[in-house]
C-alpha cells in the first residue's frame, strides 16, 4: 500500500452521522459548568481567606493580647492573595497559535504547576503553620491574662498540654497535604512534562537529524 492509497482509504470514510443534539447540549452545559466551577472555586478561596482574616481581626478586637491575632489575620490574607494570584497566573490562554507554541505553552503551564506544588511548604504550609502557632500563642496568652498569675501558675502545665496535643494533629494534616502535592508532582506532572518535551523535541529536531534521506 502506498501513501496515495492510504489517503484514498482515509478519504473514503463516510461522513459520521449528524451530530447528536443532546450530546452537543451536554458538552455546552458541561463547559459552562466547568467555567463557573473554576470561578466559584477562586471566589471561595478568597472569601475563606477573607473570612479567616476577619475572624482573627475580630478575635484581636476582643482578646486581651492583640498582637498574635493581628499577625495571624495579616498572614492569612497574604496566603489567600498568593493562592489566587498563582491560580490566575496559571490560567491557560485560550485559542491555538501553532502546535509548537502550544506545546511550549503547555510545558510552561506544567512547570508552573510543578513549581507551585513543589514549593507548597514555603508559600502555603509554613505561613499557615505560623498562623496556627500564633493562634495557640494568642490563646495561651489570653488565658493567662484572663485567669491571673496564680491560676496560670498552677494550671499552665495542663493548658500547655492541651495545646501541645494540637501540634502533632496539625503536623499530621500538613504532612499529608505535603505528601499529596509531592505525589502529584512525581506521579503526574513530571511524566506529563516528559511527554510534552518529547513531542516538542520531535517536532523541532533538526531537519538533518532523522533516520532517512529526504
Amino acid at each position: 500500500m502506498d501513501f496515495d492509497q492510504i489517503q484514498a482509504l482515509w478519504a473514503a470514510q463516510p461522513d459520521p452521522p449528524e451530530a447528536d443534539q443532546e450530546r452537543l447540549k451536554k458538552v455546552m452545559v458541561h463547559a459552562r459548568r466547568l467555567n463557573r466551577r473554576a470561578t466559584v472555586r477562586d471566589y471561595v478561596e478568597l472569601i475563606t481567606a477573607l473570612g479567616m482574616a476577619g475572624l482573627f481581626a475580630w478575635v484581636a478586637s476582643v482578646a486581651p493580647v492583640v498582637w498574635p491575632w493581628v499577625m495571624a489575620a495579616v498572614i492569612t490574607m497574604g496566603v489567600g492573595m498568593v493562592f489566587v494570584r498563582e491560580r490566575l497566573r496559571g490560567v491557560p490562554g485560550v485559542g491555538p497559535t501553532d502546535v509548537r507554541r502550544d506545546l511550549e505553552r503547555a510545558i510552561a503551564q506544567v512547570d508552573h504547576q510543578i513549581r507551585l506544588l513543589g514549593s507548597v511548604v514555603r508559600w502555603y504550609l509554613a505561613p499557615l503553620g505560623v498562623v496556627v502557632a500564633l493562634s495557640l500563642v494568642g490563646t495561651l496568652l489570653g488565658v493567662r491574662a484572663e485567669v491571673g498569675p496564680e491560676v496560670w501558675a498552677r494550671g499552665r502545665g495542663g493548658f500547655a498540654g492541651v495545646f501541645a496535643a494540637v501540634v502533632p494533629l496539625v503536623g499530621g494534616v500538613f504532612a499529608f497535604v505535603w505528601w499529596l502535592n509531592r505525589r502529584a508532582v512525581t506521579d503526574q506532572l513530571l511524566p506529563h512534562r516528559e511527554q510534552l518535551v518529547q513531542s516538542l523535541n520531535q517536532l523541532t529536531e533538526a531537519a538533518g537529524s532523522g533516520d532517512e534521506e529526504t
Binding site: F3, Q7, A19, V94, L203
Partner: protein, 163 residues
C-alpha cells in the same frame, strides 16, 4: 441561542469528522476515544471566542484537537486489554471489497496508533488533504522542515504497515 452556541453547533455538524478521526487515531480504546473527544469539544468550546476568522474553521478545529491530543497526559502503562479496533466504528462499506477495505482500514489505524504523537499529527493533517505550507503553519515550523517531517512520517507509516 447565542452566536457562540450557534457557531459551535454549526462547526460540529460540518466538521465532526475531524474530531472523530483525530480522537480515533490518538485513543487507546473506545472509552479513551470518547474521553478524548469530550476533551477536544470542551477545548473547542473554550477557544471559540478567540477565533477571528483568519484561519479556516477546519484548520482551527484541527489545531485545537491536535493541541489537546498532544498536550493531554498519556497513560504510558495503560494498554487495551484486547484489540480495541474491534470496537472502533469503521467505514461502512457495502458490496465487493468491503472486507478487504475493512482490513486495510484496521491496518492503517493500527499503524497510525503506533506512530509517535507528532508524526501522527503530521500524517493526519496530510491525510486530511493539507498542503505542506498548511502543515508548516499549523505546526509553527518552516515549510522545508514540514516537508522533511512529512516525508519521514510517511516513510515510517509505510514501514509500520509492512511490518
Amino acid at each position: 441561542m447565542s452566536d457562540h452556541d450557534a457557531t459551535f453547533r454549526r462547526w460540529l455538524v460540518e466538521h465532526r469528522g475531524i474530531l472523530i478521526r483525530i480522537s480515533r487515531a490518538y485513543a487507546i480504546n473506545t472509552v479513551d476515544e470518547e474521553d478524548l473527544r469530550q476533551e477536544i469539544l470542551l477545548a473547542l468550546w473554550k477557544s471559540l471566542p478567540s477565533f477571528r476568522g483568519d484561519a479556516k474553521p477546519s484548520t482551527w478545529i484541527f489545531q485545537v484537537a491536535i493541541n489537546v491530543a498532544l498536550s493531554r497526559r498519556r497513560a504510558e502503562g495503560r494498554r487495551p486489554a484486547h484489540d480495541s479496533l474491534e470496537e472502533t466504528a469503521e467505514p461502512a462499506t457495502d458490496g465487493q471489497g468491503a472486507a478487504l477495505q475493512r482490513m486495510e482500514w484496521r491496518a492503517v489505524l493500527r499503524a497510525l496508533r503506533k506512530m509517535a504523537p507528532v508524526d501522527r499529527a503530521i500524517l493526519l493533517l496530510a491525510l486530511e488533504g493539507a498542503s505542506q505550507q498548511e502543515i508548516a503553519g499549523v505546526f509553527g515550523i518552516s515549510g522545508s522542515h514540514a516537508g522533511v517531517k512529512l516525508h519521514r512520517a510517511r516513510r515510517r507509516l509505510l514501514v509500520q504497515l509492512e511490518a
